[in-house]
C-alpha cells in the first residue's frame, strides 16, 4: 500500500488488559488483546479486518478511537496525533472519527428520540442552532433512507435495519473523515444486510470517508474492502489488497480461514483444510508463532521465534517463517 495520502496511520498499537486475582487484585498476567499492530488507510478506502472471535478485532478498532485507552503505540487521524490529545482537545478531535456498532438494539439510548440521538454530536460540538439542527438531522435521516417523521420517535419503534440506519446517521452527523464499522450488519437479516452495505458504499463514494470494516463474514469483507488484514491472537498475520488475500493468500491461517468459509454454491465443495483445535487462550499464547499448534506447515523455527511482519511482495505483508517456501497455486 502506498500511503502518502493516508487518513489513518497506526503504528505499533498495543492494548494489554491486566488479569487480576485475589483480595489485593494482584496483577497475575496480561491478555495481549492487541499486540503491536500497524497499518494505514488512505482517503476513501476501506480496510477490512477479519479474524475469529477473541482475536482482538474490536479492541483494535476501539483503541484507535481511544474508546479504550491503548497501552502503547501511535495513532494519527487526519494528520492529528490522537495519542497526544487530552480532555477538551481530544473531545474536539472526536468529530473527525466515529464508530458504528454491531448491535443496533443496544447502541441507541431507548429514552432519547431519534432527533436527539442523531443531533447529540451537533449539540456537543456546538455546531448549529436548534432550528438548523432539526434541518440537518432531517437531511441526515433522508440520506440514510429514513423519513423525517422518524424525528420524534424512539428507537424501539424501528426494526433492526432501520436502527442501524439511525446509527449510521449519528456517525455521519459531524462529517467525519474516518468511521470504524464494528460488525455493522452481523445482527441484521440477510435481506437487510445488502441494504446497509450498499448505503455504506454510497456514502463512501460521495464523501470519501475511510472505513475500518471489522467483520467475521469473509464473503462480505471481500465485497466491501479495498485492503484486508487478517488478525490472529492480537497480531496481524497478513495484510494485502482484497484481491491478493482472496486469490493468493500466503499465511497458512488465512488459507485455512478461506478454506473453512462456506461458498454459496452447491457445485463448489469446500476444500478440506479443516483446521484442528481452537483459538488458544490469549492470556497464555503459545511460544514462537502463536499459530504453530494449529498450523499444517509448522517447522522447528515456528515453535521458538515469532515471525516478523514483512512485506513479502509489494503491498503484501505476512508474518510467517515459511511464507513463499511453497508458492501459492496461482500467484
Amino acid at each position: 500500500m502506498t500511503l502518502d495520502g493516508a487518513i489513518v496511520k497506526v503504528d505499533g498499537l498495543k492494548k494489554y488488559f491486566p488479569v487480576k486475582k485475589g483480595v489485593f487484585s494482584r496483577v497475575v498476567g496480561y491478555v495481549k488483546a492487541v499486540d503491536g499492530v500497524s497499518f494505514q488507510i488512505a482517503r476513501g478506502r476501506t480496510l477490512g479486518l477479519v479474524g475469529e472471535s477473541g482475536c482482538g478485532k474490536t479492541t483494535c478498532g476501539r483503541s484507535i478511537l481511544r474508546l479504550i485507552e491503548p497501552t502503547e503505540g501511535e495513532v494519527f487521524i487526519n494528520g492529528q496525533d490522537i495519542m497526544a490529545l487530552e480532555g477538551k482537545n481530544l473531545r474536539a478531535a472526536r468529530r473527525h472519527f466515529q464508530i458504528i456498532f454491531q448491535d443496533p438494539y443496544a447502541s441507541l439510548n431507548p429514552r432519547m428520540t431519534v432527533e436527539a440521538i442523531v443531533g447529540e454530536g451537533l449539540v456537543v460540538h456546538r455546531m448549529c442552532t436548534r432550528a438548523e439542527r432539526r434541518r440537518r438531522v432531517a437531511q441526515l435521516l433522508d440520506r440514510v433512507g429514513l423519513t423525517a417523521d422518524a424525528l420524534g420517535r424512539y428507537p424501539h419503534e424501528f426494526s433492526g435495519g432501520q436502527r442501524q440506519r439511525i446509527g449510521i446517521a449519528r456517525a455521519l452527523a459531524l462529517d467525519p473523515v474516518f468511521i470504524v464499522c464494528d460488525e455493522p450488519v452481523s445482527a441484521l437479516d440477510v435481506s437487510i444486510r445488502a441494504q446497509i452495505v450498499n448505503l455504506l458504499e454510497d456514502l463512501q463514494a460521495e464523501t470519501r470517508i475511510s472505513y475500518l470494516f471489522i467483520a467475521h463474514d469473509l464473503n462480505l469483507v471481500e465485497h466491501i474492502s479495498d485492503d484486508v488484514a487478517v488478525m490472529y491472537l492480537g497480531r496481524f498475520v497478513e495484510m494485502a489488497s482484497a484481491q491478493e488475500i482472496y486469490d493468493a493468500p500466503l499465511h497458512p491461517y488465512t488459507r485455512a480461514l478461506l478454506a473453512a468459509n462456506p461458498v454459496p454454491d452447491p457445485e463448489t465443495k469446500i476444500e478440506k483444510i479443516v483446521l484442528g483445535g481452537d483459538v488458544p487462550n490469549p492470556m497464555n499464547p503459545p511460544d514462537g508463532c502463536h499459530f504453530h499448534p494449529r498450523c499444517p506447515k509448522v517447522s522447528s523455527k515456528c515453535t521458538s521465534s515469532y515471525p516478523q511482519f514483512i512485506e513479502y511482495s509489494p503491498g503484501h505483508w505476512v508474518a510467517c517463517h515459511n511464507a513463499g517456501i511453497e508458492k501459492p497455486a496461482n500467484p
Partner: protein, 331 residues
C-alpha cells in the same frame, strides 16, 4: 436401505401464538418430508417460523402462549401430535433429537458433561450407570473430543464453544435417533470451528444413517450441507427443491433476490441487490401473498389471492403466481 423412504413427514402444520396484541401465525400450513439418511435444510430469515417449526415437531412450543392448532407430524408413520405426554417423552431424545444454537445455554452448568450425556442415555435405555458412562465415553470419542477420559468429568464452562457443541451432538446422538433437528448449530461458532462441526455432522450422518433437518439462515451453509431445501418466508414455505436446482434456478422472487443480496467472489466489486422493505411482523402479515409488499413483480392478483405451493418444474415447487416468469423478469 431405501434413500427415498420418508422418515419424517410434516403435514399442514400450523402453530399460532396467542398474545395480547393478537394472534401471531408463526407457522401457517407448513408441509414437508424428510428422507431417511438425508439432509433437508429449512432456510429463512429471523421470524420466518423455522425454529417454531422445529419446536412444534419436538412438541416443545411453550404453551401458553403458543399452540399447535392443526396438522400432523408423522415420524415413521406415527403421528407425534396425538401422543400422550408420557409417550412423547420416550420418543423425544430417543427417536428424534435436537441440537440448539447456543451450546452454552443448552448445557446445565452445574453438572459435568459426562453426567448430562449419561442422563440422556439412562432416560431411554435400561443400562447401569457404569455402562452408561462407557457409552458416554464412546460418544465423546465419536464426536472427536480430544482426551475423552479427562473431558467426561469437565463442566461445560471448561470447554470451548466448539467442544460444547460437540457435547450437545454427542448427547443428541447417544440413543441413535432416526431424525436429528439441528437448529442453527454453527451460527454462534467461528468459521474454522463451523467447518469442523459441519464435517462432523456429515460423517456422523453416514455412520448412523440419520436424517437431519438443518435449520439455518446461511445460504452458504445450505449449499455445503443439504440435499434438499425448503425456503420459509413469513410462516409459509415458499419454495422447495433439491439444493442444486434451487441454487441454479430459484423460482420464487424472494429466493432469487435473497441469492443476489449475498456477496459472492465472482461478483466482486458489483453492487449488491437489495430486497426493499423489511420482514413483516407475524401479528400482521400482508393479505394475499405475504411477500407482495416487497416483491418487484407484484400484480393485482398477489394482493388478494394467496398463491399455493405448486410444482413449477419437476420436483421443484414454488408459491408464486408468476413463478414461470421470474427468471425472465428478474434475470
Amino acid at each position: 436401505m431405501d434413500r427415498d423412504e420418508t422418515v419424517l413427514e410434516v403435514k399442514n402444520l400450523s402453530t399460532y401464538f396467542f398474545a395480547a396484541e393478537g394472534v401471531a401465525k408463526a407457522v401457517d400450513d407448513v408441509s414437508f418430508a424428510l428422507k431417511r439418511g438425508s439432509t433437508l435444510a429449512l432456510v429463512g430469515e429471523s421470524g420466518c417460523g423455522k425454529s417454531v417449526t422445529a419446536l412444534s415437531i419436538m412438541r416443545l412450543v411453550p404453551d401458553p402462549p403458543g399452540r399447535i392448532v392443526s396438522g400432523s407430524v408423522l415420524l415413521e408413520g406415527r403421528n407425534l401430535l396425538t401422543l400422550r405426554d408420557r409417550e412423547m417423552r420416550s420418543v423425544r431424545g430417543n427417536r428424534i433429537a435436537m441440537v440448539f444454537q447456543e451450546p452454552m445455554t443448552s448445557l446445565n452448568p452445574v453438572f459435568t458433561v459426562g453426567n448430562q450425556i449419561m442422563e440422556a442415555i439412562r432416560v431411554h435405555k435400561d443400562v447401569s450407570s457404569a455402562q452408561a458412562r462407557r457409552q458416554a465415553l464412546e460418544m465423546l470419542d465419536t464426536v472427536r473430543i480430544p482426551a475423552p477420559e479427562e473431558r467426561i468429568d469437565s463442566y461445560p464452562h471448561e470447554l470451548s464453544g466448539g467442544q460444547q457443541q460437540r457435547v450437545m451432538i454427542a448427547m443428541a446422538l447417544s440413543c441413535n435417533p432416526t431424525v436429528l433437528i439441528a437448529d442453527e448449530p454453527t451460527t454462534a461458532l467461528d468459521v474454522t470451528i463451523q467447518s469442523q462441526i459441519l464435517s462432523l455432522l456429515n460423517d456422523l450422518q453416514a455412520t448412523f444413517n440419520m436424517a437431519i433437518l438443518f435449520i439455518t439462515h446461511d445460504l452458504a451453509v445450505v449449499a455445503q450441507t443439504a440435499r434438499d431445501v425448503a425456503v420459509m418466508y413469513a410462516g409459509r414455505i415458499v419454495e422447495t427443491a433439491a439444493v442444486k436446482a434451487l441454487f441454479k434456478k430459484p423460482l420464487h422472487p424472494y429466493t432469487r433476490l435473497l441469492f443476489r443480496s449475498i456477496p459472492r467472489s465472482d461478483a466482486r466489486g458489483k453492487r449488491l441487490q437489495t430486497i426493499r422493505g423489511q420482514v413483516p411482523s407475524a401479528f400482521n402479515f400482508p393479505s394475499g401473498c405475504r411477500f407482495h409488499t416487497r416483491c418487484p413483480m407484484v400484480i393485482e392478483r398477489c394482493r388478494s389471492e394467496e398463491p399455493a405451493l405448486r410444482e413449477v418444474e419437476k420436483a421443484h415447487a414454488a408459491a408464486c403466481h408468476r413463478a414461470e416468469e421470474v427468471e425472465g423478469v428478474l434475470g
